[in-house]
Amino acid sequence: MPILEVDRLEKHYPLHSGLLGSLVGARRFVHAVNGVSFALDEGANMGLAGESGCGKTTTAKLILRLLTPTGGAIRFAGADIAALQGPGLLAYRRQAQFVFQNPYEALNPRFTILRAMLEPLIVHGIGASATDRVLRVAEALQQVHLDPPEAFFMKYPHQLSGGQLQRVVIARALLVGPSLLVADEPVSMLDVSVRAGVLNLMRDLTRRRGLTTLYISHDLALIRYMCTTTAVMYLGTICEIGPTAEIIEHPKHPYTQALVAAVPDPDPARAAPAVEITEGMPTPLHLPPGCPFADRCPKVMEVCRRIRPQLQPVEGVQVACHLYGEAH
């Protein structure tokens, strides 16, 4: 049974247009996440790719219960997490942890590293004594190669570099012994020369502990390096999902094709064939009844504007596109 099941997940935000607007106008909604489904087996990892505004970060925050869904369900080990309250929620928070995009902001500027690391132990009541907790923190810091740990204890976040901070964030997430780790653009704020170190560290630690991992990134190259499965999101829906290698080498959905073609390659010899689509994703405000990508799609058909395509198996992956459907 999969450990994490996301089932037709939806998150709609009401759009505020002032006191008067809400009285006269019909309420409008931003459809940030609009029917996302996927499942992760224990120990599996998946990359969630897409441009900014496609709903990938919202999906992550829904899974972590930082937001509550407006539709659909998220089941962790079979239980719906939307209903969790109090001790149940606390228990779930021990299971699901997050690595933030911006390590400079993920640590409270007024807490020392030690204090920040002790916080989850205090909240969850982990550790028999103060000394025991400090020892756990020291061990966790060592695991992310911050050695010797006590050299970092009394430091404030602004005294560390981005790479070191992200290691602290990872160590803190692992401190409570989670089984699910979600990482939102874990290296995009870091200098290029230290990115590889953090990526390798995350790969080693999650594999060794058998963690279920969800990486969220706009960078397909990073996802290829880190993940065996990939889902591509567009305007709040998954348009293609399957084994990473297949998706990147033989993208099926026109959007995936455009996305893959747009990635510049460090090797000038391997220029990818360009795929023409119009610039800029629309805001998820007026969702067309048909395929969300129809307006920008170079291969758009009449049916695309009427019927929203569902994910269906095509050559080892799942694609939501009418090009691969039965005749309409």
């Binding site: 759009l15 505020h16 247009s17 002032g18 006191l19 008067l20 607007g21």
Partner: protein, 327 residues
């Protein structure tokens, strides 16, 4: 269309605030210790007379009826008669309102014109001696009590040098054909000068400091750097790009500043015996003349909230981002 919606929503908000302020006022005057009639009722009045008076003022009805009557009267501008002079309250208020508006607007215009120029100058002279001592000097004008500055001004310019009158808005015995004739008479302006300058001296601190901070901030913005990179003349950069953007927060402050200044009028008008709303309020409260006090207070609130609303609209015109804002 968007702009109209913006204006309407601001208007709705403004009216709501006004309603709440009026309600608070009503409650204060009805629920505070001491019935509004206590001051009016003489101990020699008989119980019978007191009851008939209560009926006359509507105080025998339930509170919500009194409230509705109050609102209705407020909208119509009916506030009854003064307890003491027996004049209709509306008359009292209308007589002094032009004086207050003249004083406030004169002072505000002076203060903001001077403040914006001074603030821009302070920003341009960043790091110089002018800035080093100029800012504490401006702070001193904000810290000095208005009434004390007014007292000094009176003692020096009126009592000692005899340049200006000791107080009031017109010389005793002056008669004018219309209110406009009065407002633009030399005599009136002579009376206005000292209080308006005193008030302006106090008010200029806020726009001066804000304009300076705002200019400094804008001058560090990327789009100003980009103007420099394009080699635009410094004058154009400062006047057309920096100052226009820097003015935005000053306009917001103008809105809030009006609040403080109208409130502050209470003080200035008292010092200079200026026959305005503020002095009327102070005297009415001191004399427990509740109908006048209530009306004067409400009028001050109306003027203040209305000016806030106008400043809001002005901001919407100056900054194209505001009326489009979606949140």
């Amino acid at each position: 269309m968007k702009r109209l919606a913006f204006i309407l929503s601001r208007l709705a908000q403004t009216l709501l605030v006004l309603l709440v302020v009026a309600t608070i006022l009503f409650l204060i005057f009805r629920l505070m210790p001491g019935n509004p009639l206590v001051a009016y009722l003489d101990p020699t009045f008989t119980e019978e007379m007191a009851r008939s008076l209560r009926r006359q003022f509507g105080l025998d009805k339930p509170l919500y009826v009194q409230y509705l009557v109050f609102l209705q009267n407020a909208v119509r501008g009916e506030f009854g008669n003064s307890f003491f002079t027996r004049e209709p309250v509306a008359q009292v208020i209308w007589n002094v309102l032009p004086n207050t508006l003249a004083l406030t607007l004169a002072a505000l215009v002076l203060a903001y014109a001077a403040g914006i120029v001074a603030g821009a100058a302070l920003a341009a002279r960043r790091g110089t001696r002018l800035e080093h001592w100029g800012i504490p000097a401006v702070l001193a004008t904000r810290a000095a009590p208005e009434f004390w500055v007014g007292m000094l001004a009176l003692a020096i310019f009126s009592f000692s040098l005899n340049w200006f009158p000791f107080g009031g808005a017109t010389s005793p015995g002056s008669i004018y054909r219309s209110i406009w004739a009065q407002l633009f008479s030399l005599d009136f302006l002579h009376h206005l000068a000292l209080p308006a300058l005193t008030l302006a001296l106090y008010l200029q601190g806020l726009p001066t400091l804000l304009m300076r901070n705002s200019m400094l901030e804008v001058m560090d913005e990327d789009f100003i750097t980009f103007c420099r990179m394009r080699g635009l003349p410094e004058r154009t950069i400062i006047l057309r790009h920096a100052a226009r953007n820097a003015l935005l927060p000053v306009v917001t402050a103008f809105a809030l500043g009006i609040g403080y200044s109208i409130g502050g009028n209470v003080i200035i008008e008292t010092v200079f015996s200026w026959p305005g709303l503020g002095r009327t309020l102070v005297r009415a409260v001191a004399a427990k003349d509740y109908p006048v006090a209530q009306a004067a207070f409400l009028m001050i609130a109306v003027v203040m909230i209305a000016m806030n609303f106008l400043a809001d609209l002005l901001y919407g015109v100056l900054d194209p981002r505001v009326s489009d804002e979606r949140r």
